[in-house]
Symmetry: C2
Subunit: 451 residues, 2 copies
Amino acid sequence: MSRRIAIIGAGPSGMAQLRAFASAAAQQAEIPEIVCFEKQSDWGGQWNYTWRTGLDEHSEPVHSSMYRHLWSNGPKECLEFADYTFDEHFGRPISSYPPRAVLWDYINGRVHHAELVPGRLLKDAVRFSTAVRQVSSHSERGYLLTSEHLPTGQQSTEHFDAVVVACGHFSYPHIPAFEGIKTFPGPVTHAHDFRGAESLAGKDVLIIGGSYSAEDIGIQAHKLGAASVTFSVRTQPMGFGWPDTLQEWPLVERFTGSTTHFLDGRTRSFDAVVLATGYRHHFPFLAPELRLVTANTLYPDGLYKGVVFEGARDLYFLGMQDQWFTFNMFDAQAWFVRDLILQRAVLPDPQSQRRDIQTWLTRLKSVQSVREDVQFQADYIADLIELTDYPSFDLDTVVETFLAWKQDKKENILTYRDRCYRSVMTGTLAAPHHTPWMEAFDDSVEEYLRE
Amino acid sequence: MSRRIAIIGAGPSGMAQLRAFASAAAQQAEIPEIVCFEKQSDWGGQWNYTWRTGLDEHSEPVHSSMYRHLWSNGPKECLEFADYTFDEHFGRPISSYPPRAVLWDYINGRVHHAELVPGRLLKDAVRFSTAVRQVSSHSERGYLLTSEHLPTGQQSTEHFDAVVVACGHFSYPHIPAFEGIKTFPGPVTHAHDFRGAESLAGKDVLIIGGSYSAEDIGIQAHKLGAASVTFSVRTQPMGFGWPDTLQEWPLVERFTGSTTHFLDGRTRSFDAVVLATGYRHHFPFLAPELRLVTANTLYPDGLYKGVVFEGARDLYFLGMQDQWFTFNMFDAQAWFVRDLILQRAVLPDPQSQRRDIQTWLTRLKSVQSVREDVQFQADYIADLIELTDYPSFDLDTVVETFLAWKQDKKENILTYRDRCYRSVMTGTLAAPHHTPWMEAFDDSVEEYLRE
Ligand SMILES: Cc1cc2nc3c(=O)[nH]c(=O)nc-3n(C[C@H](O)[C@H](O)[C@H](O)COP(=O)(O)OP(=O)(O)OC[C@H]3O[C@@H](n4cnc5c(N)ncnc54)[C@H](O)[C@@H]3O)c2cc1C
Ligand SMILES: Cc1cc2nc3c(=O)[nH]c(=O)nc-3n(C[C@H](O)[C@H](O)[C@H](O)COP(=O)(O)OP(=O)(O)OC[C@H]3O[C@@H](n4cnc5c(N)ncnc54)[C@H](O)[C@@H]3O)c2cc1C
Ligand SMILES: NC(=O)c1ccc[n+]([C@@H]2O[C@H](COP(=O)([O-])OP(=O)(O)OC[C@H]3O[C@@H](n4cnc5c(N)ncnc54)[C@H](OP(=O)(O)O)[C@@H]3O)[C@@H](O)[C@H]2O)c1
Ligand SMILES: NC(=O)c1ccc[n+]([C@@H]2O[C@H](COP(=O)([O-])OP(=O)(O)OC[C@H]3O[C@@H](n4cnc5c(N)ncnc54)[C@H](OP(=O)(O)O)[C@@H]3O)[C@@H](O)[C@H]2O)c1
């Protein structure tokens, strides 16, 4: 009987895993039977926008945290696939910061018409609208996986020899409680359920959090006319050159109605609260002993090469790192996992795995600067690519692009998305977008590609 | 070995089941081991308010759909427990329409200090913060139930001889899609995630739906200063004497941005949309063959006496009916289920069960008026009480109270909550509340009980 592999999730990571197998099959390798489970009705993961919040039409937790007017927050040159470039997809240079729908188009383009094996579309390996409910170790080897076809409620339990978990980790909101928050009379929304800043026009908005979601929802609110935006930051202030109506304050201590008390004793009244307090790595469908337990970090402990679960055989995780790199990192991971499954690569013994993990963790601890942080992830990817046939690319130049991006944001947080970068894959310099980001209010593919 | 009974949920229905067993134990009956699983950290079900929406701190679907300023929408005299009256709890007459917190206090009061068996508090039979994940038939008899302690992720699988499902059916929102809804720029909130109307002040609000949630959220919005409220109703208009700024319109056909197109061709622009489109009976934790499948109706098909699941032995459902009656109906059901479990009552053979169900379904089909509808549920309860030792009460007078309530609402939808009714349990006439409902903006127990 042929071996069977389950992939859980068809976001960028799961799609990368499918692509990795297709690429081996195209080179005449024999590949096992692959089943990819995706609870949404289409692929693309976070990039598959929905207006829904909370629970979806099947009462499953809504997956995507993206919102209207979301544009890439890093240069596309940092996430480009090494085996499918923006030039190949769009046929001409585009800007460095495309909106969500354009990036979905790009991810989709690589695999939409592709075959997994000759005569069988890669997309046909995906069971859409099907949620994985339960994965547990089989007594002999491999896993029993129970899935549910959401429109019919039909469940089935199947055996798989290996499982690749690619369900993302920016979907289950981390929602801390603050004293008195239930007395706050306006809307209290976690970033996960934020769908657009239009209703914040004219409002005084409080955003709790000091990372990417806080920053971007803050400038969205500003762009769409908020009267003021106050960031409440627990540790590290973001320190951008904010416009006058945007300010960073300390952490909230408590709420009494619409009055918010800050730890430094100041108080202020707000109309709306957005909790941009991050996400939880959460795997309700995995048996407890199979769950990865980690904070949002560049090197989750317990994963050899960032993907092989230490606690059980033949269980892999993709994309579980905090992310400087995204799409091309998922590729590097997927190619390596593929090679392990195809037994082209061999796992060292557990002690050697542990030593390798420990080396990375030790290095991560000693990171002192943003440059070292980005370089850490670049080196991690380089290490993976070395082990596979994924096309290698100039990772060190991408590190420089990240640092230039950081500098652009420091210079002007409202205009950094108007800058253009050069692809390390094709050498193409991005074309400036026809409209400055602060004036772009239509984020459709059609408008974006309009000449 | 003693028999073991699982109760899923500690809302009013699950608490009624616990109380039913306690009441038998107090009369020296031997009762089986009871374990009640409750995913929230306290009991009260819907009445246990939370400011959270979507997913809770453990990434579980938030249960309660209640909101700030929610007051009973029917007279408390219609839901009073026959074995624990409002007089007994509050020691003096209170008004007919208490706010949420006061009703929670009442439900809690009956069981808070009660013992399940001598020396063991009833509350100690509840495993709080513990979600039931999976229930399946055991190969021999009874059920295997897997639960998870949410704070620790610890799972355990146990055998139970019988399972009582008391998880409610107003928690999983039914959220239909409307063409173009994703282009609507304001907040789109299902009633389940609605927490208060304060942010609707000055706004033009569209509410889709024509039942209790639509009606009450509409008048809340009005009470808290909405500029206008437009109800979009699919079938039966509510037909109340609305204030000028509240109107009933036909169903929405589609949205183009903030412009809403109605089926009659009219268009109008809104600031916010509330979907008051009801809930789904949803049992993700039950094996598919154990799931009750029903719409929101007074007599779900497949439940003998409205509680005994036809498709499997020793599986019971409480409170799955659409609800005129609530707390005292749950009691009648719980007492009957208790007696079946204690083998004080006997189940007839399957054919007789089916005939009994069919008789009720046939009667329900022939219902022509509101009176007949209420009487239907009253007779259903009377039928149950007859089979148990739950204190019988004057159900026909309660039917009259429901009809008078209906009439009050017709007369004035904004002031019906100022009316007072007489308890059929104690004969006590409710005391008028110190503040008319339209002027009451503090819904705390303290304010309510202030002399
Ligand atoms: C608001 C936001 C903005 C972002 N913006 C950018 C950006 O500009 N640039 C960038 O590079 N990255 C961005 N990211 C990072 C993003 O995480 C990655 O780009 C990428 O989407 C991660 O891919 P993934 O496949 O690992 O996870 P996801 O994209 O999250 O996909 C996981 C998939 O698994 C499915 N799934 C989950 N559970 C189950 C189950 N039990 N059964 C079946 N299917 C399941 C989901 O439906 C989903 O399709 C953003 C993230 C967020 C939250
Ligand atoms: C907005 C709103 C307003 C209402 N107002 C009134 C009113 O004014 N008067 C009135 O009489 N009725 C009202 N009701 C009706 C209400 O349904 C009943 O009063 C009552 O709460 C139903 O009790 P229950 O125990 O059957 O369900 P619930 O109250 O829904 O309780 C179910 C319990 O099961 C728990 N649970 C669910 N799934 C699991 C699981 N997998 N594992 C463990 N625990 C689980 C939940 O956490 C919850 O505590 C209202 C309902 C809603 C939605
Ligand atoms: N394309 C875009 O424009 C866009 C927009 C949004 C998000 N994203 C992506 O989405 C991903 C997630 O970003 P994120 O910002 O949501 O998560 P994140 O990077 O994990 O940041 C979480 C933030 O929440 C704060 N926080 C956590 N608990 C808190 C508490 N109890 N009190 C106060 N603050 C608390 C953290 O503060 P501490 O530092 O003190 O822990 C941190 O600032 C990233 O990959 C990002 O790139 C992209
Ligand atoms: N205490 C309080 O003040 C209070 C407040 C709110 C709710 N509640 C309680 O909560 C419970 C639930 O009430 P509910 O009103 O949420 O649910 P409900 O009574 O089941 O009503 C659902 C409503 O949604 C409509 N609907 C469903 N699908 C639709 C669609 N596709 N398009 C348009 N309309 C659609 C239905 O219209 P059709 O008739 O056309 O099907 C119906 O009007 C009740 O027990 C109620 O008493 C109490």
